[in-house]
Symmetry: C5
Subunit: 359 residues, 5 copies
């Protein structure tokens, strides 16, 4: 819903007009500049974006990470510096994009969704990450600082794995990989929630359980919306962007593609399980109604006949005037007889319901 | 439904016969003629369509906007002037078209749906817009005047963005873009309604809520019918109309395509949410029935046994004649005993229902 | 169902054996022969099919319309005359075909379904029309005479539109167009029925309404079965039959294709609406049950306690023997007290149910 | 289920090992050998398969029909004689194949399902037929003798239609056609059953009806599993097996393809109808519950208040001691008043329920 | 769920890092080395993986089976020896892969799922098998030892079928075939369970039955997840891996493909049946509620009127004071009349319910 709400503020502006759409999630824009090759590694925080320009044509790989998107003019500056299309800049600033990849002549641009779980408010938080791969430079734009990219930074610093030996395309892959790895954690969290709700369903289903099921359903829907396009993105990177992505990195992308399919598989399985939970919930509601009805029926069916018998002998026919008028009332064992009749009736009915396996 | 109803009036006529199908939504046909290039901009209202002919072969871009479709002969005149196919003219006049694009040898023709929200009658209003891109001329046909195209007019006037620097194909794109931007507003409005109905569902679901859910469902269906074909239209424009649409405009069309996908995503999410709301509604009906049943069962199960006890001691066995006949009635504490028996019975039953967590 | 039933009579015969499958819907076979070119127009009724042979090689367009299919030998004669394949003849005589198009070397054959609404029996009537386009001759086979083709005949006679100026392919198109136009009328009729049933649903849903919903559903299913294949037929005509269909007619076929899509859209929308109506029906059944339960619960929950109180003071404890035995019965205001207790109980319960918003 | 059960007996054997999987449905293996060309026709029963070898290279068409599959060695013999692949032989012996076609270098092999209706046990019987088209020889394998191929034999004998004039490919087509013709009969039978159950649904739905609906559903599912692959088989024969199938036979295959589509259409329509029947059944269950509830509510709501009134005047307040204590009991018209009160109450309630249209 | 849970432990590591993900299912890693050609067969257990290296370039076929995946360094050793890509090694160690095939320049790698049924805990056990076909060597990795491959070993030893005469590609096929054969057994087991639950459904449906239905549904879902990808794997092997797989083996793969389709067919049929069982369960719950309601209604509707009559004659109108006040009480046959009235009422009601076919 937010998508529509905020997006409509922009309606009427010329396409390509740079406006930041979305919440401002961080106070100050933070620019981290990492430069590395197989032997050297340097990381600095920049005050102004333009400080990074001199590094543009160096042979080493440059990673420029920008956190916070509200300083529109600074970002616009970059546009002209790296020769980005105005529409790309517009997409970066609009944080309600759908995940997508776009191949331009001199760069690849893609938008993905980073998902984290806010344990305090118990809900998923989605953050947009834009990534530009342009020659030997990777530029990433985040709405606010996060620690998803930290493992990549560490591997860069400690020169672990292939990352320092490979080009900017491998760095782009590694960042994508870090995001997809996060999805597994989210899946795990949702899986735990599903198990919890399933146990609740068996023990004590309530309207609250129904609400939890629907919350889970929504989380799955929003996860789905982030993951499905990812599949196309990676497939497109692997098959169409042959010039900018090396054969080796493509092998890794194929692996990442498999991981994405795995996440999608998990999401779809959860969808199936949640719809099964709805079935169980609804049939448990029916079962409980059945229970209630049985209790009512047993009580009513036993006591109404008894009350009738009691009422019978409460009638005021003048017994003295005619031998036909309620001779039972005058019997010596009249009362025990009536009580016995009642007990027999109750026992017969109890037996009847027992036979029907109602209790 | 309207589609069928009105459409059938035409059945039996030769294809290509020009008849205006649909309501007449404006009194007078209004023709606005805008001519511009990078340096100049001129806007006039024409009395007669033929006034625009002299501009036809000028190098500047011409935008001819026609509001009101009932003057069939005037529109027919244009047909011959711009070399339009009779079927195109027929489609323009039939306001119950499905959104579509058609590529002719010398022009591109497409039909789209403009959607606005009538706040007074609380319903969606759909208006058909036909657009012809023919050389450096764009001709738009609207059923009645609206303000969706106003932002484009303003940008033309104030020379904002690329629009004055680009050709007629960019103008066509800008108009399409304006329509799609409107859809975001409609989505937002429907999103608000959904949230409202969802709250109602939790607080006090009624048959009225059900009706609202179905109204929302219908709005989503009709929005869907307008948006899905749009996707194919833009894709076709981007990929097939290579001669009439420049490479630069195609980049913008790709962007527009993404927006359309975003609208479709929103529509589909809403569909999911609405079907979830139906589930909740139905299970809330069941739950309420459960509640009602519980109240009945508790009342009946407690008071029927009590009434039985009261009935028991209301029997008229002649107590004097036999020591077995209801000695309780003669006990000193008979009545308190009976009352106690009742209270104990009621307490036991209350405890029983408490145990079952029925209240 | 009929399809299967009648079709099986033929099982075991050699393929290509000519047998008329289906009801005989008209008494006499009627052959109308129309010959025209841009300047001349001639229409005659033939006694025998072979009378049309001399016109076969004329340059003017010939339209042969045959109503009634039971005279198998006459139709067989035509087969040899126009060089039709035995399977084509078999398909023409089997009136339970699925709509389809078949391209032969020297002719195009297609089968479509004409649908009309029988206002007396309130049901859809389906009639099969076979059409052969063979050089400059069009041959149509109808089960019985209808007026669907009348507008085409009029246009031919009055030389309206392109029809007299164009070839046999355009005539074939015009006839197809006439059939599709009929579908709009049927859609309109079903749309009216749906609206009617929807109002019934809101006012007084009954099992009868359910039956009407299912009748509508069936009509939609059978309409669907006729319309969906039509789409493929027209698409195939437009794209594959390039030799026999001129470029101009192809433009018109594209238009017809759009109309077919529009009918399909309508059919699908109706399907959605009908399934929505089922939802409403089912939830209205639940709601009514809820209502019934509430009435029962209110009555029972109010009067059972009152009856208990009455029963209480109907007990026969000997009041004289002990001050504890029902002193109320001897109070001066005992009866008003009991009545007051009853009124208070009833009022409290009414208030309770009022609070629960049960009435 | 059977598929899995029996199939697993074979697990662990080398692929290509010949084992007969399935029931032995006939006692003796029966080999019929038919040889024909346009002028001659000869039919013999063979004792041993090898008797047919001399005919192998004759120009006339040979049809070898084998009934009973348990004599594995005899069938193995044929394998070497006609140069069949071991996997083909394995597929022939495994009677739980899915319908399929396989093109080998020198022959075409396909498996189809013959369905017949066992009127005694009221269930569908499925029999597997394997067919090999190898040069001018057609070999068919049946589990047991049936009369589905009888019409083809008669046509061969009586030289009806094209069959004697055409090659082995046409014979293969004719046999396929005979099987598909059988499907129409099965469809008809299921259609009759559906109509029967539908009437039951309207008159007196019971759990038994539900069971019948599910039996129908299963029959449709199993029919579906036989028919859907058939479509691919015929399409593959028509388009891929260009060397072994003549152009003329291909025309007939196209026709057969249409018949298959017709059967599929019927099957899908029945699926829709059956799911509609489930809807009706479920809502009829709800309706009956509604009925029951109404009866209960009317009885309880009318008689409980009356019983209360009766209970009221059954209270034992000492009327003599106070003028307030139940003066009604002493009124001259007390009893008629009470009776009147009761009648009035009952009438009011009846009117109330009448207003609610409960009866 | 497990997939996500364990998978997330790895998040943050460099891609290609070798970590064993999954339970350690066996204590010691077991390496079996089989070498064979048409004439010779040798099988040994290796202590160290490197012992197998000398056999690498021999012309005979080598099958290396490794059970247990926890000895990461040993497996890494193999990586370098056979020139495997790090990602392949990573996939082998991660036992929560989705079934897939990957073609590398010098080898084919695929992952499949072996499924067995644990009769003690009554649940499916899934084990991952990775297979590498590299020249004339096949390497298989299992989580723990199993007997699924035993039949293949026996055939190798006893030189049965084609296996010893064919290359490593046929061995790979034979192993795949063994796994698919296992699936038939699992299908059979699930089929038996379904039949059992179906009988329970008809005899005595309970919430326990519902739980069993859902267990079955889950098993089917997990089987589905293993089987569907298998289809793509085999299809890819058959069509893309033309260099490493011989034409003859491809024929066998086509056969295996058919088996896989058969398993998929079975799985989908079971899905349909299980959803049908849910329908029956839910409607049986409704039916039972109906039953309960009928019992209640019959008891209440018969005895409440009787109680009313009894209550009527329990009223205390002073009969002496007025001839209108309850003269029945003084009639000679008053009591028999009242009893008769009751019996008549009860009989009439019983008749009424009998008419309604309630019992």
């Amino acid at each position: 819903m937010k998508t529509a709400k905020r997006r409509s503020h922009k309606s009427g502006l010329a396409p390509g007009t740079l406006v930041h759409i979305g919440e401002q999630k961080t106070e100050k824009m933070l620019i981290t500049h990492i430069e590395y090759d197989e032997t050297s590694y340097e990381m600095r925080e920049l005050e102004v974006l333009r400080e990074c320009l001199p590094y543009k044509d160096k042979p080493s790989v440059t990673w420029l990470n920008i956190e916070g998107l509200h300083d529109v003019s600074a970002i616009e500056e970059m546009s002209s510096c790296y020769g980005l299309h105005p529409l790309t800049m517009e997409d970066i600033l609009n944080t309600e994009q759908r995940p997508k990849v776009e191949l331009f002549e001199n760069y690849i641009f893609f938008v993905i969704k980073m998902i984290s779980y806010d344990t305090q408010n118990r809900k998923l938080i989605m953050e947009q990450v834009s990534l530009i791969l342009c020659g030997n430079t990777v530029i990433t734009f985040q709405e606010k600082g996060g620690d998803v990219f930290d493992p990549v930074r560490k591997r860069l610093k400690n020169n672990k794995g292939l990352i320092r030996k490979s080009g900017a395309d491998f760095l782009a892959y590694a960042l994508l990989d870090a995001v997809v790895d996060e999805y597994f954690g989210i899946l795990e969290k949702i899986g735990d929630d599903i198990e919890e709700v399933e146990e609740l369903l068996l023990v004590k289903p309530s309207t609250d359980t129904l609400r939890q099921i629907h919350t889970l359903k929504r989380e799955i829907i929003s996860l789905r919306k982030s993951v499905w396009p990812l599949r196309d993105i990676i497939s497109k990177l692997e098959h169409d962007a042959t010039e900018m992505i090396s054969a080796n990195t493509r092998l890794y992308l194929r692996d990442l593609y498999d991981h994405t399919i795995q996440v999608i598989d998990g999401v779809e399985t959860f969808r199936d399980m949640i719809s099964g939970m709805l079935d169980i919930y609804l049939s448990s509601v029916s079962n409980r109604m059945n229970e209630v009805m049985k209790v009512l029926t047993i009580f009513a069916s036993i006591f109404i006949p008894l009350t009738f018998i009691a009422g019978l002998y409460g009638m005021n026919f003048n017994t003295g005037k005619s031998p036909f008028n309620m001779p039972e009332l005058n019997w010596y064992f009249g009362y025990p007889f009536a009580l016995g009749l009642m007990v027999a009736t109750a026992a017969a009915l109890l037996l009847y319901f027992r036979r029907k396996k109602w209790f």
